[in-house]
């Protein structure tokens, strides 16, 4: 049998495209409608996705209230309660939620995810993040955001405490945490919930190599994806682990339709919906300048003072604007629409070709699929791309196992 790829359905309110909520085929009330999520979960399960994946932040995504009010990302469900509701309305699909090591305690988090694991019969996973936003930090004390290294040291200890608790151990006494008792819940039906991570920094990769079962990453090109894949798998031996003990699943944002022209049209339609304020604000933050909005939007990018923090990224943007003759508005839409993830616009065959190339080229074990808007674009992926992957023998036609670990081909921890 050909090796098969793993697929996650990354759910995010109205959609991953920043202007998704304005699209007539997106469900604009997604963030307050539990039935919307029930329907998405059933679609993903019927298509045999390995898991649903929920991003999270304990706070607003955007500090500027005016900009925030032009996106749909300021309100939504809290993912652990959301997935607990979905757990008893689905029977096979994995349920992965993000939660922060900076604003939780290991005992409480381990207990909550274990409960989700029991509710779902062994289908839960935790995506560990350290939370890099000042907005979140302000909801948890006056001290502000802790430095990167401190956050990762806390995360390392946190992960160690949680995995210990999931394996029935009692007690943890460390630098950041102390836990006296073992968990008062029985052992997980899949041995332990699945550990997912996304950190791309050097310490982030080491933490993943040591503890993660699944790694979610952003990679634009094949070369980037391959380099990350080889680097991370290469780090695992140091921790006594086999390369296959981690599934690396880069994010992919497909826009798929029956014909390539239709797919392009669909994408352009979304790009047109990006409010200028939102696009320019995002572009400004990319360029590390604050007064971009003073310049005519249909004119070229002005000459920029050299920025301190992000020289290479600024240079990249400037170069692209000069090369393609893009106006500020066009450039703003381009960046707001892509946001660092790999986008494929095309037919099911084209999308499947690209996924297959990265999978078989040793740059990915699977993909976390980020539909532009919901429910339409998840439906499109499920009805067009999944059958194409199945025809090629690259994706399952039926679930083989009952737990998330079984779907992912992961060992049951002792």
């Amino acid at each position: 049998m050909t090796a098969q790829m793993k697929l996650g359905a990354f759910l995010w309110a109205t959609g991953h495209h920043i202007a998704a909520w304005r699209h007539p085929k997106a469900h604009v009330k997604a963030g307050i409608d539990i039935d919307h999520y029930m329907a998405l979960a059933r679609t993903a399960e019927a298509a045999k996705f390995d898991m649903i994946f929920c991003e999270d932040a304990a706070g607003l995504r955007e500090a500027n209230v005016d900009i925030a009010s032009q996106t749909s990302r300021s309100i939504g469900f809290e993912p652990i309660s959301l997935l607990s509701a979905l757990a008893v309305q689905t029977s096979r699909i994995g349920l992965v939620s993000t939660a922060s090591t900076s604003y939780n305690e290991p005992y409480g988090l381990a207990r909550t995810f274990l409960s989700l694991d029991h509710l779902s019969g062994g289908r839960a996973g935790w995506n560990l993040v350290t939370s890099a936003s000042q907005i979140e930090a302000a909801n948890f004390g006056a001290a502000g955001l802790k430095p990167h290294a401190d956050r990762y040291e806390r995360a390392r200890e946190f992960a160690e405490a949680v995995t210990g608790l999931w394996r029935g151990k009692a007690g943890h006494d460390g630098q950041s945490f102390s836990v006296r008792d073992p968990l008062d819940l029985p052992r997980s039906p899949q041995g332990a919930p699945v550990m997912v991570q996304a950190g791309a920094s050097d310490v982030g990769r080491d933490l993943a190599a040591r503890t993660a079962d699944v790694v979610f990453t952003a990679a634009q090109t094949f070369e980037e994806a391959k380099a990350f894949y080889d680097d991370l798998k290469g780090r695992m031996a140091a921790y006594g682990r086999e390369p296959d003990d981690i599934k690396i699943m880069p994010g992919v944002a497909p826009v798929v339709a029956e014909t390539e022209a239709e797919a392009r049209e669909k994408f352009e339609e979304l790009q047109e919906l990006i409010p200028d304020d939102v696009g320019v604000a995002l572009l400004s933050s990319y360029l590390s300048i604050s007064d971009l909005w003073r310049h005519p939007l249909d004119g070229p990018l002005p000459d920029l003072p050299e920025s301190e923090g992000m020289k290479s990224r600024q240079a990249l943007v400037v170069e692209q604007s000069r090369r393609d003759g893009l106006s500020i508005r066009q450039l703003a839409r381009h960046f707001a629409g892509a946001r660092g993830h790999w986008r494929i616009v095309g037919t099911a065959v084209q999308v499947a070709d690209e996924l297959q190339a990265r999978f078989e080229g040793g740059a990915a074990d699977g993909f976390n699929v980020m539909p532009s808007y919901f429910p339409g674009e998840l439906d499109a992926f499920a009805t067009l791309v999944v059958p194409e992957l199945q025809r090629r023998g690259l994706f399952r036609k039926a679930y083989e196992g009952a737990t998330l670990r079984a779907h992912l081909g992961l060992r049951r921890p002792s």
Partner: protein, 331 residues
């Protein structure tokens, strides 16, 4: 809202106290549906095992009520959650989300007593002094209620053509800076369908009564002798009025513990208390043997119904409307 002569009825269950076989999700779903069919206002679920007991329940209470919300339609779902185990922002958010999932049927049961040993699992080996714990709990609960008010009911515009998802003026920072916590807000969950999740306070001492009068929607009080019960009820209602709230804005439920021995004489006890107006209703504390609950439904509730103490159906769709509380969302 007709609250009139009827009495409010809740049932509470600590799932961690099951002896022998743990209660499965299907047991608990059956219990919730039965309570719903019997017209109870709400069920209150607690998950704290006594120290040293072998693990008995596989579930944590907030995740459990999220799941139960999908298999019930009317009944209120209240989970106990500790102020030690969660940060206030996270807890406010969890319950706001539960309220959205249940279409306005969620409540938080906050205990004002420190659970022995719990803090030792949350990096606080020595716990808090009684005085610190009280001030911390009061600050904590104030933050949670404040976060629940962060979005105006009409803040979401969904204006696709105009490009405005929400009204920037309809979103409010909390900007809380206190002795124990600093929380900027706002919550990233929309306004509750019932205005705010219901706040239930339990394990109160004398010193908590003024705080409860200011903040609670429901107060659970231990059952005492009838005369003492009535005095306590009057005292708390006076304190509620003194805070400028309607006396009826806080419902006082007498905690009645049921043992596995059964329900004989219970109907008479409840009738007497109801007619003497010594409480607004009852919270029946169930043992983990759910067969006792069947006895309650089959033998006690029909009796209460005959005396007109129990309404037949849920009058509205939210927990606030069941309890006759303002801001019911569906009046």
């Amino acid at each position: 809202m007709t609250d009139g002569a009827t009495t409010h009825l809740a049932a509470s269950l600590n799932i961690a106290l099951a002896t022998g076989q743990a209660l499965t999700f299907s047991d608990l779903a059956g219990f919730a549906r039965e309570a719903e069919a019997a017209g109870l206002d709400m069920i209150i679920l607690d998950d704290s095992a006594p120290h040293g007991a072998a693990p008995s329940s596989p579930f944590e209470a907030t995740t459990l009520i999220a799941a139960l919300a999908t298999v019930t339609e009317k009944i209120g779902l209240v989970a106990s959650a500790s102020t030690i185990a969660h940060q206030p922002y996270n807890l406010a958010r969890r319950f706001a989300s539960l309220d959205m999932i249940s279409h306005g049927r969620a409540g938080w049961n906050a205990t004002l007593a420190q659970t022995p040993r719990e803090a030792a699992n949350f990096s606080r080996p020595d716990g808090f002094s009684a005085d610190d714990f009280r001030r911390r709990s009061e600050e904590y609960i104030g933050i949670v209620q404040g976060l629940w008010q962060g979005w105006d009911a009409d803040a979401l515009l969904f204006d696709r053509d105009g490009g405005r998802f929400h009204d920037p003026q309809g979103m409010h920072l909390l900007d809380h800076k206190g002795e124990f916590f600093s929380v900027r807000g706002p919550l990233n969950v929309a306004r509750s369908p019932q205005d705010a999740p219901v706040l239930v306070l339990s394990d109160l001492t004398e010193g908590d009564l003024d705080f409860a009068a200011r903040t609670a929607d429901v107060v659970l009080l231990d059952e005492r002798a009838a005369a003492e019960d009535k005095a306590c009820h009057g005292d708390l209602k006076r304190r509620v009025s003194a805070c400028g709230r309607e006396p009826d804005a806080v419902k006082i439920l007498a905690d009645i513990s049921l043992t596995a021995d059964g329900v004989s004489g219970l109907a008479d006890r409840l009738e007497e208390k109801s007619f003497s107006k010594s409480c607004d209703g009852f919270n029946i504390r169930l043992p983990a043997q759910l067969s006792v609950f069947d006895d309650l439904i089959d033998r006690v509730l029909p009796e209460l119904r005959r005396c007109g103490l129990l309404r037949e159906n849920h009058p509205g769709t939210t927990l606030r409307s069941h309890l006759g509380l303002a801001g019911g969302g569906d009046q």
